[in-house]
């Protein structure tokens, strides 16, 4: 297998908290191949978004990426780049779109100008040329009447159109990797499908890999090639979409999948995972999920489970798996 586009190894992010530094992302590793879509799934507060920001090296102070973490993009170590070099990577090599298209655009500048900012910054082409590129790009992301929309202010566009503008902005420089942080959470169901479809076709056309951050298995099912499930700052299970969705091995993944409403179970009480995600710094010892896990047994509160490979592509961290392997 060729070198992955993005390789993250031992990534930890910590913040100063009560009595020392508190990890919010704890030693996670994953990789994305060129053109592949990896979905990072988990409940709120499990460190998904922080992982994305860490890849961009935009963890806000006083938070920091711990030394010893490794993030490599196309073989380049992002953590050793200088600040201006990193700025050259952002926008040009890695694009990012956010959850809230409503607030992600500057309200006092036309949307065209804002997308142009990205192009001018990285491509260094004259304004008239950049303007043409933006209008072309707007057409490409399915904005009707792109020349007129270039002049529009954010408040004059609908949520779906704004998200299209954000996508145009992120894809303006044809980045190798697109980080989409819950790109459809703030949109209606009908628009959601359109935006996902747009992301899929755009990325397929340009061969862009996607790191998709979501808590919605519907989105995962529609777009992802592989899935990584995060819980309390760690990746607890990963595998191809089919493996994770049809044969989840970690009790947390199983719980998440069971808590999706199903049409055939209409009228029945929706299953849920008991309890809430523990706050960073208050993670229980041993397996962090054991306080909420229906299958917890003796080793769970004592020892952290190790990563167990289940196939060439699937792996999970759970004591149940090692017990099954050695009866």
């Amino acid at each position: 297998m060729s070198a992955p586009l993005l390789a993250v190894e031992g990534l930890s992010v910590d913040f100063p908290g009560d009595g020392g530094r508190v990890r919010v992302v704890d030693c996670i590793g994953f990789s994305i191949a060129a053109g592949e879509t990896l979905a990072l799934v988990g409940e709120s507060g499990c460190g998904k978004s922080m992982t994305a920001l860490a890849v961009m090296r935009l963890v806000a102070k006083p938070g920091r990426i711990e030394p010893g973490s490794r993030i490599r993009l196309e073989g380049r170590d992002l953590l050793s780049l200088s600040v201006p070099e990193m700025r050259g990577v952002r926008g040009a090599r890695i694009g990012m779109i956010f959850q809230e298209p409503m607030t992600s655009l500057n309200p006092v500048t036309t949307v065209g100008e804002q997308v142009m900012e990205a192009i001018e910054l990285h491509a260094g082409i004259p304004r008239a040329k950049a303007r043409e590129r933006v209008i072309e790009l707007f057409g490409h992301v399915g904005i009707p009447d792109p020349a007129r929309r270039f002049q529009a202010y954010p408040h004059q566009l609908s949520g779906g159109l704004k998200q299209r503008v954000m996508i145009a902005m992120a894809m303006a420089m044809r980045p190798r990797l697109l980080i989409a942080d819950e790109p459809t959470t703030a949109l209606d169901a009908t628009i959601r499908a359109q935006i996902l479809e747009l992301l899929r076709t755009l990325c397929a056309e340009t061969g862009t890999a996607v790191l998709l951050i979501t808590h919605d298995f519907g989105v995962v099912n529609e777009t992802a090639d592989r899935v990584a499930v995060m819980y309390a700052g760690q990746i607890v299970e990963e595998g191809t979409r089919l493996e994770v969705l049809s044969q989840p091995r970690h009790p947390y993944t199983q719980g998440l999948l069971r808590s999706i409403p199903k049409p055939e179970a209409r009228g029945a009480r929706l299953e849920e995972i008991k309890g809430i995600v523990p706050r960073p710094g208050h993670w229980p010892p041993g397996c962090r999920f054991h306080t909420r896990c229906p299958f917890a047994f003796e080793p769970c509160p004592v020892r952290a489970p190790e990563r167990t490979a289940l196939s060439a592509t699937q792996a999970a961290c759970c004591h149940l798996l090692t017990r099954e392997a050695r009866p």
Binding site: M56, G91, S104, V108, L121, H122
Partner: protein, 339 residues
């Protein structure tokens, strides 16, 4: 010195044309300007008139005709001076508006019925003095704002944006400055710098930037966390460009409103300085201060006070009305939705 003010006039006119072109080109500003005009045509007209008078009083030159006259030789005269001819158009002392005879003694006047608002103690025409005060008032407000806004923006925005040590330092400076009684500081500064238009404006500016700095800092703190700033960062935009293209345009409305409000506060505070004897020569504050002594006479000499205070009141009211309308237009919570 008169050529300096002539150059300033030219620069101001050029600046106004450039600003006007920008407003006409950028839809955001054009719509707001049009709405402002619809809401407050009268106040805008008043401001326009004041600006026009101040310009008339700023263009000065020396010409052979005035050189020939011993009273005016060597002195540049402005257009207003040339219209009123104050050397000739004066009386011996007080005269009531449109009077034919002097207030005291009843001697016939040199220009009977010509002094619309009468004359003051030294026989100077009150209308002329009031009009001369326009330029001083606008200078106080404008020049001081030119000192205040850059200082306040620089400190406020950098403190808010970069936070931590810079913020601590700026906040410390602001707290120290705010804990000294501002009038005391003002008097001390004017004693150090000396009396004069620029000096007084600098003194007012140095004591007055704290308030605006606090507003700019607060707003920047909020904007720093805005999603569109994060989006710009994600695109690899540098900090300086983020401040220039995303922070400053979003506090532009605050700059305009604070400018308008502080303008009136400054013009009014000049009258207090005049009362304390450190005001500007030829200001309305000085006229009011002089008129104060005459209020106890019977029959009362009211025209001196009236000329200056009506002019002052009209200016302050007009600017406040415009500031108020601008806030309504710009603030999205009070803005009518227009498509």
């Amino acid at each position: 010195m008169h050529w300096v003010s002539n150059i300033v006039v030219v620069l101001l006119i050029v600046g106004a044309i450039l600003a006007g072109r920008h407003v006409a080109r950028d839809r955001f500003w054009r719509e707001n300007a049009a709405q402002l005009w619809r809401r407050r045509p009268f106040a805008i007209g008043v401001i326009g008139l004041y600006l026009f008078l101040a310009l008339l009083d700023s263009i000065a030159w020396i010409d052979p005709a005035s050189e020939a006259n011993a009273l005016t030789s060597g002195k540049p005269r402005t257009i207003i001076d040339r219209i009123f001819q104050p050397e000739r158009f004066k009386e011996a002392s007080y005269s009531a508006p449109l009077a034919d005879a002097a207030f005291y003694g009843g001697q016939p006047l040199l220009h009977p019925g010509a002094h619309l608002l009468g004359t003051d103690l030294l026989g100077r025409d009150v209308v002329y003095r009031t009009l001369k005060g326009v330029r001083v008032a606008l200078l106080i407000g404008g020049l001081t704002s030119l000192v205040v806004i850059p200082i306040a923006l620089l400190f406020g925005v950098t403190a808010g944006y970069f936070g931590r040590r810079i913020d601590d330092a700026v906040f410390f400076a602001m707290t120290v400055l705010a804990s000294v009684p501002s009038l005391l500081l003002l008097i001390a500064l004017i004693m150090v710098l000396g009396k004069g238009t620029v000096q007084v404006c600098v003194a007012l500016g140095v004591t007055g930037w704290v308030h605006f700095c606090r507003i700019a800092r607060g707003e920047t703190l909020k904007l720093r966390e805005a999603d569109f700033v994060a989006a710009a960062r994600v695109l690899g935009v540098s900090e300086a460009t983020i401040i220039r293209r995303h922070i400053l345009p979003n506090i532009a409305h605050l700059i305009i409103i604070t400018f308008a409000l502080s303008f009136t506060a400054l013009v009014l505070s000049e009258t207090i300085l005049s009362y304390l004897g450190i005001g500007l020569d030829g200001s309305w504050g000085q006229m009011i201060d002089q008129a104060r002594n005459e209020l106890s006479r019977t029959p009362v000499i009211w025209w001196n006070l009236t000329g200056a205070s009506v002019a002052l009141f009209t200016l302050v009211l007009a600017v406040n009305m415009i500031a108020d309308a601008m806030r309504d237009i710009i603030d999205p919570r009070t803005r009518r939705e227009e498509r």
